[in-house]
Symmetry: C2
Subunit: 150 residues, 2 copies
C-alpha cells in the first residue's frame, strides 16, 4: 500500500493552529525564552523570581502556602527556598507559635534584586508582545487573567 495515497478520508477541518491550548503553549514558550535569557546574568529562574514577588506581597508566608501559590509541590519549594536563602535573597524565620513552620521574608538584597527583575520582566513582556498594540496587550492580559479565575 502506498502510504502517500492511502488517505481516502479528507483531513478534519480542525487545525492545530486553531487550538487555544496549542497557541497558549507557543506563546508561553516565547515569553519564557525571553525571561530565561534576560534572567541568566542573575543566575535566576522564572520560578525563583515569582517566589520573590510572592514573598514581597505576602511577608511571613509559610513554605506550604508558597508552594501552593507557585503551583509546585512542597519538596520543590524546599530546594527553591534553600537557594534563595543561600544567596541572601530570602530569610526563614521559625514561627514562635508553631515551631514546625517558618515565616518567609525578603531580605533587603532580595527586595533590591526583585525591583530590578520586575523591570526586566516588564521589558520582556513588551518584547514578547511586540506584534500587539498597547490596547491589544492590555486586552490579552485581561483575558488571560479572566481565564485563570475559573
Amino acid at each position: 500500500m502506498d502510504p502517500v495515497n492511502s488517505r481516502t478520508t479528507s483531513p478534519s477541518t480542525i487545525l492545530l493552529d486553531d487550538l487555544l491550548g496549542y497557541a497558549l503553549r507557543r506563546a508561553q514558550l516565547k515569553a519564557f525564552q525571553c525571561v530565561v535569557e534576560a534572567f541568566e546574568p542573575y543566575d535566576l529562574r522564572p520560578a525563583q523570581f515569582s517566589a520573590l514577588a510572592i514573598l514581597e506581597q505576602n511577608p511571613g508566608i509559610m513554605q506550604a502556602d508558597l508552594a501552593k501559590a507557585l503551583a509546585i509541590e512542597p519538596p520543590q519549594a524546599v530546594v527553591l527556598v534553600n537557594k534563595l536563602e543561600q544567596r541572601n535573597l530570602a530569610l526563614r524565620i521559625r514561627s514562635q507559635t508553631d515551631r514546625r513552620s517558618y515565616g518567609l521574608y525578603l531580605s533587603r538584597q532580595g527586595e533590591k534584586l526583585l525591583n530590578e527583575l520586575k523591570e526586566i520582566a516588564q521589558r520582556c513582556d513588551l518584547e514578547t508582545t511586540a506584534a500587539l498594540s498597547d490596547c491589544e496587550r492590555e486586552e490579552l492580559l485581561r483575558l488571560l487573567k479572566k481565564l485563570c479565575l475559573s
Copy 2:
C-alpha cells in the same frame, strides 16, 4: 492619597499578576493540565498529539523539520517518532533520493486516533476557557496567534 497617581507612579507597584509572562504561564499550565488528563487514557502526551497533527498537515515531512515545527531538538524527535511508530500511528519511509532521511506519514490508525484527539483537545479548550464568552475566546486566540508571528 490621589487615586489617579496612586496607581500610575511608583515602579515598585508592579505586581506579579500584571505581568503577561506570568499570566501566560498560569493559563498555559491550566490548559496543559486539562489536555494531559484527557489524553491519559490514550497514553499520549501533548507533544505526540501535535506531532500527529503536523504529520497530517505535512505528509512526508523529514524528522529534522518535524523537530523544528515542534520546537524540540532532533534527539527528542527520535524518541517521539519511535513511540508513534511502535504504536503504528506513524510510518518512517526511507527517501529514495537521499537514503539518510525519512519521510514521515500518519498511518490509518494514526489518522483515526488524531481525529478523536482533536475533538478532545477542542473540548479542553472550552473547559479551560469556560470563564470567557465565545467572542472573548476567539479574541484570545487571535491575539495569541498574532503574538507568535513576530
